[in-house]
């Protein structure tokens, strides 16, 4: 009891970000996945320094090569070095895979909390508005918006944010509804706490756990959707690389060489796994009851 109490009082002295950092530093598994993500991020940032070949340089003399000391992950059907393409592809995939879901989470949570907290006509207006977007599958919506805006990285961010935000809003609204009826909200109102402060200090901390976990799940979907949109010519343009594009290109040449798909698939898996593991950890840190166990 004394140790948990000391740990708890020690926690409360620090901000929530510091608490998350300390908990991750104390947990070996989480620390490992942080290192993995940092490594992937560094690879993406330093792509032009560490990539052994030009990712778009074709060589008809060396197509569909298996891994070798020269080409660590082999080459694709145009003779491009797969490792170099994976390294450059990390830029697009990682950036899009994190920015779009994060933006969607912020916008969606704001909408959902507002709808759930106030209820009534505000809830109905926001609810119907979200239903319009939810009526379309994310991919179809993406195609529609991408067709209207044109291709390009930031347009894809917009596409995915619009497609994902209603999904976050629904979760945020449902969680807010259940928290809204708790007596501590009434206590806060009775204490003279203003509505924005109630949302920030009482609603948000209590729903953040589920939002964070869902966020990590949508990272995978974002990377996958980017691939689909690129395949349709609405995302990353032809010679440029992204993990999704590598898989799409490799799919048509699966029997020529499986290596592009294996390499890109593993990259996506490791990235998504790292995000999910850290998401779970962050959720636990946000919940003082789970933290003590």
């Amino acid at each position: 009891m004394t140790t948990t109490a000391d740990a708890a009082s020690e926690h409360s002295e620090r901000g929530i970000l510091a608490q998350i950092a300390i908990s991750i530093a104390r947990d070996r598994v989480s620390l490992f996945f942080v290192i993995v993500l940092v490594a992937i991020a560094l690879v993406a940032i330093l792509a032009d320094r560490i990539a052994p070949f030009d990712p778009i340089a074709q060589s008809l003399l060396s197509i569909n090569l298996p891994p070798s000391p020269e080409h660590w992950l082999g080459t694709d059907q145009f003779g491009r070095d797969i490792l170099s393409r994976i390294i450059y592809g990390a830029r697009t995939s990682l950036l899009l895979g994190t920015i779009a879901p994060a933006l969607a989470a912020i916008i969606g949570t704001a909408l959902g909390v507002t709808a759930g907290y106030f209820g009534g006509w505000i809830d109905r207006v926001i609810g119907r508005f979200l239903d319009i977007f939810l009526a379309f599958p994310a991919l179809l919506l993406g195609i529609l918006i991408a067709a209207a805006l044109g291709a390009g990285f930031w347009n894809m961010v917009v596409v995915l944010t619009v497609a994902f935000a209603p999904r976050f809003a629904r979760i945020a609204r449902a969680s807010t509804l259940s928290i809204r009826s708790e007596a501590f909200i009434e206590a806060a109102i009775a204490s003279g706490v203003r509505t924005p402060a109630i949302m920030l200090n009482h609603i948000l901390p209590n729903i953040a756990g589920s939002i964070v976990v869902v966020l990590t799940l949508w990272v995978a979907t974002a990377i996958r959707l980017e691939a689909t949109l690129s395949f349709l010519g609405l995302g990353t343009q032809a010679p440029k690389a992204s993990w999704g594009v590598i898989i799409r290109d490799g799919l048509g040449n699966l029997f020529g060489s499986p290596w592009p798909i294996v390499a890109a698939g593993l990259s996506i898996t490791v990235t998504v796994l790292a995000f999910n593991m850290l998401g779970d950890k962050v959720r636990d840190v946000l919940d003082p009851e789970a933290r003590d166990e």
């Binding site: 206590a187 204490s191 003279g192 706490v193």
Partner: protein, 335 residues
């Protein structure tokens, strides 16, 4: 009587759509609270008793202005706060605070004790510095019998009784004159109930607090109340000093309620009055006297006319056409 709080004709009705309302267009009106008038003096405890669903909690929330009254007037410390909003309401709420029934749900699980107790102070801009904040919270914890060292802990690390102490510390943080206590001990073990009740009484003496004590537990009410108001279907059916209401109930419902409470003295045997039927739905309140459907002594007049709350003694009133002491006959026999 120097009235601290005076409530006149307070009413709250909710529009509830009935199950087939969408097809027949019918909306039923639930009268949760109807024509409630009470006064609370300084340093006084008024207990509001009744069965669950009788509107006693709604009355407490109406006075707190957590829900909007449909009719009536709430005058607190000489100011009409019935329609107060924004700053005026915030000022009034510094003087009226609330203690909740479930000490688990009334404390945010994600916030430390320090954050929870300091919240009313933070919200009203009464904190000068981080040190001042800790000192104030330490004093508040001390006055509810908790060690200031627990400040950094979270609610789940406390027992129910300790959590209720934290809730009480929060409620006195702003220095209120009136505390609406909504079933503050009914979620607690009996042994802990007494401690919390004693704490509330001590604080009342130290801080000249008034309580609106909402409870269904007559034994607790007998201990803490100065005056008692009995509610049935959203209305007050009897109100008076504790000795008057417990000693000589004038409303048949009060008498039946009292007869159902367990007695601590085995030598006193009493006959329990069992009322026929169930409490009618508040969306279909009977005409005339709302208690008549279950009243053993109801007559024709009870169907036609609603009995007003009439004085039966000084400071003692009952809403019954046949208000006499123990209208259902003597039920207590002392051998």
């Amino acid at each position: 009587m120097t009235g601290l709080l005076s409530v006149e004709g307070l009413a709250k009705s909710f529009a509830a759509r009935s199950r087939w309302g969408a097809f027949v267009g019918g909306k039923s009106v639930v009268r949760a609270v109807d024509d409630v008038s009470v006064e609370i003096a300084e340093s006084e405890t008024l207990a509001l008793v009744g069965e669950s669903g009788c509107g006693k909690s709604t009355t407490g929330r109406l006075i707190m202005r957590l829900i909007e009254p449909s009719a009536g007037r709430i005058v607190f410390e000489g100011t009409d706060i019935t329609a107060a909003s924004g700053g005026a309401l915030r000022r009034a709420r510094r003087r009226i605070q609330m203690v909740f029934q479930d000490p688990r749900s009334s404390l945010s699980p994600r916030r430390t004790i320090l954050q929870t107790i300091a919240e009313p102070l933070d919200a009203n801009g009464l904190i000068r510095s981080a040190v001042h904040r800790r000192e104030t919270v330490a004093q508040l914890l001390d006055s509810v019998g908790l060690s200031p060292s627990v400040m950094g802990r979270y609610p789940h690390q406390f027992s129910g009784g300790q959590r209720q102490r934290i809730g009480i510390a929060r409620s006195i943080a702003l220095g209120p004159s009136l505390i609406v206590a909504d079933e503050p001990v009914s979620a607690l073990d009996v042994s802990v109930q007494a401690q919390i009740i004693n704490l509330m009484q001590d604080l009342q003496k130290e801080r000249r607090l008034s309580y609106l004590f909402i409870s269904h537990d007559l034994a607790v009410v007998r201990h803490i109340a100065d005056r008692v108001a009995v509610m049935y279907l959203g209305r007050i059916v009897e109100i008076g000093r504790k000795q008057q209401v417990f000693g000589a109930p004038h409303h048949p419902y009060t008498q039946a309620l009292l007869s159902a409470a367990p007695e601590a003295r085995p030598s006193r045997t009493k006959k329990r009055i069992v009322l026929p039927g169930d409490v009618p739905s508040p969306s279909a309140i009977p005409s005339g006297c709302s208690f008549r459907t279950r009243c053993p002594i109801a007559q024709d007049i009870c169907t036609r006319e609603r009995p007003p709350l009439r004085d039966v003694a000084a400071g003692h009133a009952a809403a019954c056409h046949f208000a006499t002491p123990n209208p259902l006959g003597t039920t207590v026999t002392t051998p």
